[in-house]
């Protein structure tokens, strides 16, 4: 046998096995990915189909007391309101904490403990958070059930989550970029503001989306803090945020859509519980989708604004 053909034989032998392994890995990964997509598609499809005939303008914007089925307008409003309130607290504080932990605090036993605590607290069962919120933000403050109390309860696990995810996003920024900026005579803060933060924005936006998802979906932590009452007759013309009757006020009970789904299905008072559940779930899915796309879009604009100038 001549040398070239020997070499070719050897080449075929080794690459044959490698190719099999490579193909197997590709197939398995594709299958897993496909399975996840299928699952996601099935969930969305289920609620889209189930909500046909339920979701209509009068369902989205109407009052629960309007018709027999009832609308979910005030509850949707409360979900969005709660989201904004909770994010107003968690996002700025979380990003600042993340900046501190990643850029200033360093690595020692204290900061390791803080990181561990952040991860532990953000995974405490939310019913426990709800009970703590009941003591801290309902009873001790004498506020009763309020949107603010609910938002603060959500903050208990959202803030550590946001801080941890921001920190990770900031840490992932390559040291090269920081050195380049500092070597050009930029101060540490200028480096953070003009190089590190813009590069970390996609990661921070992921953090915001995960945090927001928890606000939208949370029921247990809100049962005992923002309350369970079914809201009706919101008057959006009342802009006095200190009037508990105004839908703009943080000092009023604010049942969210998720809580409402839980409530209608567990009370069993309405014969339409299942339809309300399907319709409200479709709305929640839609809201989450809109929020995620919106957050990504704003993140991209923000990155551009931060890096120019």
């Amino acid at each position: 046998m001549s040398a070239p053909s020997q070499a070719r034989g050897a080449l075929r032998g080794t690459s044959g096995r490698t190719i099999v392994a490579d193909r197997a890995a590709t197939v398995v990964l594709w299958a897993l990915g496909g399975f996840v997509l299928l699952l996601l598609g099935a969930i969305i499809l289920h609620f889209v189909i189930a909500s046909i005939g339920v979701v209509s303008p009068s369902f989205i914007f109407g009052d629960p007391s309007d018709t027999e089925l009832g609308g979910v307008g005030p509850l949707l409003w409360n979900s969005v309101y709660m989201l904004v309130l909770a994010m107003l607290i968690a996002v700025p504080l979380g990003i600042l904490a993340g900046i501190y932990m990643s850029e200033y605090a360093g690595d020692n036993r204290v900061t390791d403990t803080i990181r561990f605590a952040e991860e532990a607290i953000s995974s405490v069962p939310s019913i426990v958070v709800g009970l703590f919120g009941l003591i801290a933000f309902v009873n001790l403050t004498h506020w009763g059930f309020t949107a603010l109390g609910g938002a603060l309860a959500l903050t208990l696990f959202n803030l550590p989550l946001m801080a941890r995810l921001s920190e990770q996003a900031l840490r992932a920024v390559p040291a090269d970029e920081r050195s380049a900026s500092l070597a050009l005579g930029a101060t540490k803060w200028q480096t953070i503001r003009h190089v590190v933060l813009p590069l970390a924005i996609p990661g921070i936006v992921t953090g915001i989306i995960l945090t927001a998802g928890r606000v939208f979906g949370e029921a247990a932590a809100l049962l005992f803090t923002a309350g369970l009452s079914t809201p009706t007759g919101y008057n959006f013309g009342n802009l006095n945020i200190f009037d508990p009757k105004s839908p703009w006020s943080p000092f009023r009970p604010a049942t969210t859509l998720s809580v409402y789904i839980w409530k209608t299905n567990s009370e069993g008072l309405s014969q339409f519980a299942a339809q309300i559940g399907d319709g409200a779930s479709a709305l929640l899915l839609g809201s989450v989708l809109i929020f995620n796309l919106g957050a990504r879009f704003l993140g991209r604009i923000l990155t551009r604004r931060l890096t120019a100038a």
Binding site: D176, E177, S179, A180, S181, L182, A183, L184, G185, A186, T187, Q190, H194, V195, P198, L199, T307, A308, A309
Partner: protein, 312 residues
């Protein structure tokens, strides 16, 4: 050995390095030109004594510099001087502390946890290790080009304007002019002038990226430029362009370049310093001389072995 001490005290008062952070570019120090009466530009470059026999004040100097990482000694007791508007090449085997030593001229070692520098480093006679020195101001006067091109993920224009903007420059026309001048000097202008604002610095080729990084340093109007193997990630043609560029920059700047490429050192530098590692693996300065002398007629056997390729 401290001939610079009197000068230190005279220049100190007027030198703004110690005046902390002033964002106005107008307050950048006037470049101190050492070419005085009885002294030619070439004398200043090579550091040879002038007629009166007094050496020109070096632009930068290291005095008994030792650098440790934790407990590991990386650079032992290096003293050397670099005359203004000359190029000093640092050569030596891997691990001999060239990068570490280079970083003490703009205090980048400050950023490495556990790194400790002893001795003194001077710029125009001013002690850079002194506690009242503003590293921000220092790094504007002593720029650095890294081994791996590291443009920011922003437009070419924003990359070059980065330094000036950080010290408060915002006038559009002035910035435009500065960006064009810096890119022209870095031999990149004609290649990028058509999509300055649209194209990201990362979308350039490796060689273009490195010239962009050089332009970015030039835009901060430094006096000294440190280059750590600036051409090691580049193809031969880009390397030649960067070398050409360095020879042009020598007319205006004082440059210290680390290189593994001895031809490169021979081609671009006025003087060459050879670093080696001792028994304890700490780097030290073996020999410093005019580049031609060091390569053709070194005094030290180690240098001769290294430049003739017998080790390293």
């Amino acid at each position: 050995m401290n001939t610079g001490d009197e000068m230190t005290t005279t220049t100190r008062a007027q030198d703004p390095i110690e005046a902390s952070i002033d964002p106005s570019p107008a307050t950048l120090p006037p470049r101190i030109v050492p070419v005085g009466p009885g002294r030619t530009a070439d004398d200043a470059r090579t550091g040879s004594p002038d007629v009166a026999g007094v050496a020109a004040m070096p632009k930068v100097a290291a005095e008994a510099v030792s650098i440790t990482y934790g407990t590991k000694l990386a650079v032992r007791d290096v003293s050397l001087e670099v005359p203004e508007r000359s190029i000093l090449a640092l050569i030596g085997p891997s691990g001999s502390g060239k990068s570490t030593f280079l970083r003490c001229f703009n205090r980048m070692n400050d950023l490495i946890p556990g790194a400790r520098v002893t001795g003194q480093v001077r710029l125009d006679g001013i002690g850079l290790m002194d506690p009242d020195v503003s590293v921000v101001e220092l790094r504007r006067r002593v720029g650095m080009v890294f081994q791996r091109p590291n443009p920011f993920p922003m437009s070419i224009y924003d990359n070059v304007a980065y330094g000036p903007r950080r010290r408060g420059a915002s006038d559009r026309a002035q910035l435009d002019e500065l960006v064009e001048r810096s890119l022209t000097r870095a031999a990149l202008w004609t290649e990028v002038k058509d999509d300055l604002r649209r194209k990201s610095g990362l979308a350039l080729s490796g060689g273009q990226q490195q010239r962009l990084c050089i332009a970015r340093v030039l835009a901060t109007e430094p006096e000294v430029i440190l280059m750590d193997e600036p051409a090691s990630a580049l193809d031969p043609i880009s390397t030649l362009r960067v070398e050409e560029l360095m020879r042009e920059l020598r007319e205006l700047y004082t440059i210290i370049i680390v290189t593994h490429n001895m031809q490169q050192a021979a081609r671009v530098s006025d003087r060459t310093a050879f670093f080696n590692m001792g028994e304890d693996r700490a780097g030290y300065l073996v020999e410093l001389d005019d580049t031609r002398t060091l390569f053709t007629n070194p005094k030290n056997q180690l240098t001769e072995d290294y430049v003739s390729g017998r080790f390293g």
